[in-house]
Structure formats: C-alpha cells, structure tokens
Amino acid sequence: MEFNEYFVLGCSALGAALAVFTAFGPSLGQGQAAGMAAQAVSRNPGAVGDIRTTMLLGQAFSETGGLYGLVVAILLLIVKPLT
C-alpha cells in the first residue's frame, strides 16, 4: 500500500468528520440546560432575567468543546498540517 499525499488527505477528511462529531456532547448539554431553564421559569416566572442569563452563560461554556472540534476540523481541511 502506498502512503502518498492523497491517502493523507483522505485520512484528514475522515479525521475532520470525527472531530466535528464532538458537537454531539455540547448539543445534548445545551438542550438539557434549556429544558431545565424552561422548568425553572414555569416554577418561578418572576426570575426570568436571571434564569436566562445563567442559562446562556452555561450554554456558552459547554459549547466550547464542540467549537474546539470545529477548529480542529477546519485546520485539518484547510491548513492541512499533515500533508
């Protein structure tokens, strides 16, 4: 088997697909956070502002992991450090 440039390119495309798959975790977490926020609002409608701020902050933090995966995928596809 020959390990030429195209083989590495194909493998980095596969790696990029796997890296983007990290979005799985953060989206589950964000959905859960939004659901919990909806419950909290239904229990205490007066605290909508605080609940929204806390939810957005938590979601922004949990999104970071997925975004790192996206950055890795973009680096693999566009900068192509391995070829």
């Binding site: 495309a13 502002g49 701020t53 957005l56 902050l57 922004a60 999104e63 970071t64 975004l67 790192y68 996206l70 950055v71 973009i74 596809l77 566009i78 192509k80």
Partner: protein, 242 residues
C-alpha cells in the same frame, strides 16, 4: 492555500482571507488583508455614529427626539446589562470598556449582512480582543488587590494550586477568542457552502440564513463575550473584598 474540497462544484465564492496589497516593514512582507479593510470600515461606521451622538447630545432636550431616544435606549440598555452582572460597586469603572467592546463585536458580527467578511472570523482579531480582556483582568486585579494580594490570590485555596491557577488564567483568552472565532467562521463556511454547492437554487431564501447566522448568532456571541469578560473581571476584582 487549498480549498479544493469546495472547487468540485465549480463555484467561485470562497471564504478565505485574501491579501489585498503587500508592503515592506523591517524587511518583512506584510499583507493588508480583507480583515483589516472590513475592521477599518466597522471602525469608521462606529466613529460616524459617535459624531452623530455627540451632535445630538449637545442639543439634548427634555422630551427626547427620535435620534436622541434611540441613543438613550442603547446607553441605558448597556448600563443596565453591565450593572446587573458586575454590581453597583464595580460597574462604573468598567462600563466604558465593556460597552465599547460590545458595540465593536456586534457591528463586526453583523457586517456580514452588508457583504463584508466578518473581521471577527479572523483569529487575529479575536485573539487581540481576548488578550485585551486578559490584560484588563490582570491589571485591575493588580490595582484593586495590590501586588502582594495579587500574588496571594494565585495561591488560593492552597499553595499547591498555583500551577492550576496559572493554567486557568492562561486559558481565559484562548477560550474567549476561540469561541468567538469558531462561531463566526462556522457561519461563514455554512453560507459559502450554500452559495457554492446550491448555486442554481440559492435565491432569496439564504437571506433567512443570513438573519440567523449574522444577526442572531452574532448578537448572542457578542453578548456572551461581554458577559464572560465581566464575569472574569468581577471574580478577579472581588478578591479584594475580604
């Protein structure tokens, strides 16, 4: 630069940063890129808005006119937003910085609507913003806690937490800048994909995607960036209270 995974459809739209013209600086070739130009346009728009605000506010009336009430609503909103998160003790010291950076990021993110390439979709811009917040956090901690208190804060809660605290400090600008960068870049790539791959049917309906990616995500990300900056600053500064 290779973007040939998009070229298979024969489109000519791409999302890469392009150099416009080179110049020599200390024997190095430096490029003025599309990011610089769109950032400059955003800054010019901000300056013009500031001049208009200055002229409107000079002849402010008791019952505000149209423009005056728009500006008052914006300033009031920003003030309340900052006051809610930082508290009355620290809000007045930092609202200039947070407000400026909020307006700059918001205009940069929505500049994609006007055909510019977002300045915030370049890692150079977002890293600069992240480092700005990083230095503000550390300098204000130095000022509020005094140098000795700053060193003591790094040893909290126990002395062997020092490496962890240093890593946590260094991770702040990286995570802030990467979050903003990746969100904007993903929007740009999504739209470029649609314009290239669905070229025959890409009429009118991408406008809604522009509204989502540029306006909603853009507003959200500038909000989140400012909120995280304020949280970091408040945590660093409130160590001085004990």
């Amino acid at each position: 630069m290779g973007y040939n995974f998009l070229l298979s459809s024969g489109g000519d739209i791409d999302f890469m940063i392009k150099g416009v013209f080179p110049y020599q600086l200390f024997d190095q070739t430096v490029w003025i890129t599309t990011t610089h130009i769109s950032a400059l346009i955003v800054i010019i728009v901000m300056t013009i808005l500031c001049f208009i605000a200055n002229r409107v506010m000079k002849k402010a009336t008791e019952i505000p006119g149209n423009l005056q009430s728009v500006y008052e609503i914006i300033v009031d909103m920003l003030d309340n937003f900052i006051l809610n998160i930082m508290g009355a003790r620290y809000a007045p010291a930092f609202r200039n910085y947070i407000g400026t950076i909020f307006i700059f990021i918001l205009l940069s993110n929505t500049s994609g609507l006007f055909g510019l390439r977002n300045p915030t979709a370049d890692y150079g811009t977002t890293l600069a913003l992240g480092l700005l917040t990083f230095s503000i956090v550390n300098i204000s901690e130095l000022i509020y806690c005094k140098p000795l208190g700053y060193l003591k804060n790094q040893l909290k809660p126990m002395s062997f937490f020092l490496p962890l605290n240093i890593i946590g400090k260094l991770a702040q600008p990286i995570s802030l800048s990467l979050r903003l960068f990746a969100n904007n870049l993903s929007g740009i790539i999504m739209l470029a994909m649609i314009y290239v791959l669905l070229k025959p049917i890409a009429y009118v309906w991408p406008a809604f995607l522009h509204a989502f990616f540029d306006m909603f995500i853009g507003f959200m990300q500038s909000f989140v960036f400012c909120m995280l900056s304020m949280t970091y600053i408040t945590i660093a500064v409130s160590n001085s209270e004990e």
